[in-house]
């Protein structure tokens, strides 16, 4: 089973949930830190990193002397990454999404495939947890290919927890692609509710079942709970607002180490998710 931890709003506790959940299961699992713009799960888990592989984006390279200036490459580029000057094609690499359309449609083979490093995928281990994390290079804007490489490198036979980036845009869509279930971590504030609504809509469109975890549950207002009730989204856990939990995070310590009672709660959370995924599968087949 693959479970993604998403949030919409940043800073609600995705990594806290993902890491504590992985540790609580106390068996072979994988944790993928897909927040490639600012990965931080390693700060809590402190895994031993064994490999680091670069992630490449295929980009066009212009071959002088072959171009007839037909402009087909410029026409087919959906990202405006190519410009036809008098005697050459200018390639704006930072806009290229690596789709290969220009290479495919160039009738003169005046463009060939080059590659550009976007980031790195690191793999390692800590105890029973197989860990992997993506890192987008500073200055790069294209996170999805790094997330794709990270997800592809995971062992499909193992239960997997995917720590996602915040928001509901392309990197999140890429991170949750093909997962069995999403845990949406939110906080009971108007901001929390607003971004929860956006994420719930995204997951509905992607047809991924979800449940909510309310962090700092004793703060704020009733907006998040009202929304969950209206939308029939189950709330599977509530984490209290405790200074000691914040202290743990600041010190890089997973909070189940200080609150061992939470191990059982996370195990029950996992079981509840398993039951929902199984029941969905039954309903699909019926």
């Amino acid at each position: 089973m693959i479970v993604a931890v998403v949030s919409g709003k940043g800073g609600t506790g995705k990594t806290t949930v993902a890491v504590n959940l992985a540790l609580s299961l106390d068996r072979e699992v994988q944790l993928l830190d897909c927040d490639v713009e600012e990965p931080n799960a390693h700060l809590l888990l402190r895994p031993e990193i064994s490999t680091a592989e670069p992630v490449y984006l295929p980009v066009p390279v212009f071959q002088k002397g072959k171009c007839t200036g037909c402009g087909r490459c410029v026409e087919v580029c959906a990202y405006n990454a190519l410009v036809l000057l008098r005697d050459k094609v200018l390639i704006l690499r930072e806009l290229c999404h690596g789709c290969g359309g220009c290479l495919y449609f160039c009738p003169e083979e005046a463009l060939v495939e080059g590659k550009k490093v976007l980031g790195t995928v690191e793999q390692g281990r800590i105890g029973k947890i197989g860990f992997a994390c993506g890192r987008l290079n500073v200055g790069e804007a294209l996170a999805p290919p790094v997330i794709k490489a990270l997800r592809r490198g995971a062992d499909p036979a193992l239960d997997t927890i995917v720590d996602c980036p915040p928001g509901a845009s392309c990197p999140v869509v890429q991170a949750v692609r093909g997962v069995d279930f999403c845990l949406v971590v939110t906080e009971p504030t108007p901001f929390g509710r607003h971004d929860l609504e956006v994420v719930a809509e995204m997951l509905r469109m992607l047809k991924i079942p979800c449940a909510v975890i309310i962090n700092r549950a004793d703060l704020g207002d009733g907006g998040v709970r009202d929304f969950c009730k209206e939308q029939e989204i189950p709330v599977l856990a509530e984490i209290p607002f405790k200074k000691e939990i914040a202290r743990c995070f600041a010190a890089g310590i997973p909070f189940i180490e200080r609150f061992p009672g939470w191990r059982k709660k996370f195990q029950e959370l996992w079981t509840a998710v398993e039951e929902r995924v199984a029941s969905n599968a039954r309903n699909c087949c019926a």
Binding site: V74, N80, V83, L84, L85, L90, L92, L95
Partner: protein, 121 residues
């Protein structure tokens, strides 16, 4: 020689739009005939790379001079490589900026503006 001005409307009386990538139109002045024509900016509706699309369109039209408020780094790079000169226009009708350009009164735009940001005029 063709001179393109980023504009919010069509014709010589349209107000100059300081944003090259996302202006609605280019009003093009031809100094041979002394006439103004208007073309839509294909960059205006782009999700990304608006300035690039706008610059490519200006290249296709054989423009030699661009008058605008700011030119983003990508568009600037393209126009520079194509040998198109850029000038900082005046707010108000396009006709006034073209007149000022003819009298050598417009300052050249020397460096790229910040992406997505227009210069104060």
């Amino acid at each position: 020689m063709k001179v393109a001005v980023s504009a919010a409307g069509s014709g010589a009386e349209a107000p100059l739009d300081p944003h090259l990538g996302r202006c609605a139109y280019f009003v093009v002045y031809d100094d041979k005939t002394g006439t103004f024509s208007t073309v839509a900016n294909p960059g205006a509706t782009e999700g990304g790379g608006a300035g690039i699309k706008a610059a490519q369109s200006l290249l296709r039209q054989g423009v030699s001079v661009v008058i605008s408020g700011s030119v983003g780094p990508n568009a600037y790079q393209i126009l520079e490589q194509a040998g198109i000169r850029c000038y900082l226009g005046k707010s108000g009708p396009v006709r006034e900026s073209v007149q000022a350009w003819r009298e050598n009164e417009l300052p050249p735009l020397k460096s790229a503006g910040r992406p997505g940001w227009r210069r104060r005029m």
